[in-house]
């Protein structure tokens, strides 16, 4: 029902999604979000750091909140940490539900909260070297929608 993982090595999002979908044959629909490292804006690498005592427990609490709010058959949250390069998957969220609307809302909500409230710190490497990424106003606005 709830599958929440923090991975320090790469993962295969299509395999994860296939397994998740196969595991919920009673669900009519599965909504997923896959975030990947963008290619083509001069970013050579991206690093996500976390704080182990808080990050995974926080993600599990988020999953519980999502499951309490929408009628889901299952929820998957997989998040990378460590150093990634363009095209590497960063995060996969999937929600399986009987009703499409629940799956969309749950995945959308989970992503907004993962992005703005989870304990991840991100830095990017360009030809100028590494630079920490600051919070974005857009993320705070996204969160205010719920």
């Amino acid at each position: 029902m709830r599958d929440v993982r923090l991975l320090d090595l790469g993962f295969d999002p299509s395999l994860e999604l296939e397994r998740f979908t196969a595991g919920h044959p009673q669900a009519g629909g599965v909504v997923s979000f896959l975030g990947q490292v963008r290619q083509g804006e001069g970013v050579e690498a991206l690093e996500l750091r976390h704080y182990a005592p808080l990050t995974l427990p926080g993600m599990r609490a988020l999953a519980d909140a999502v499951l309490a709010r929408w009628a889901l058959d299952g929820l998957l949250i997989v998040h990378r940490i460590g150093v990634m390069v363009p095209r590497d998957p960063i995060v996969l969220v999937a929600a399986a539900a009987r009703h499409r609307r629940d799956a969309f809302a749950a995945a959308d909500f989970a992503m907004d909260h993962l992005k703005s409230e989870s304990w991840f710190w991100k830095r990017e490497k360009t030809s100028d070297g590494w630079r920490w990424i600051e919070p974005r106003d857009e993320d705070r606005r996204d969160l205010a929608r719920w």
């Binding site: 750091r49 704080y51 005592p53 409230e117 989870s118 710190w121 920490w132 919070p135 993320d139």
Partner: protein, 79 residues
């Protein structure tokens, strides 16, 4: 008899390391032993503190005992 300070995100750059061992005692006294520029950043109003994995509501009154771990958490990166 030592405790650990943990620096996340840009605070790691400011501290020059991801963690530092410090003597036990009141946080205010520990911070006084650090580089003042770093201490100012650690006490920034948007920096949260977690003591042994538990978020603190405020920094006031924190006293570190042996083996305590105090993490300084700047705003998360989002997007």
């Amino acid at each position: 008899m030592a405790a650990r300070l943990i620096f996340l995100g840009r605070l790691e750059d400011a501290a020059g390391a991801s963690e530092r061992e410090v003597a036990c005692g009141p946080l205010a006294e520990i911070l006084a032993t650090l580089d003042p520029a770093l201490a100012v950043q650690l006490l920034g109003e948007r920096v949260r503190l977690a003591l042994n994995g538990v978020l603190l509501a405020e920094a006031g009154g924190v006293v570190l005992a042996d083996d305590d771990e105090l993490a300084f958490l700047p705003p998360v990166s989002g997007g």
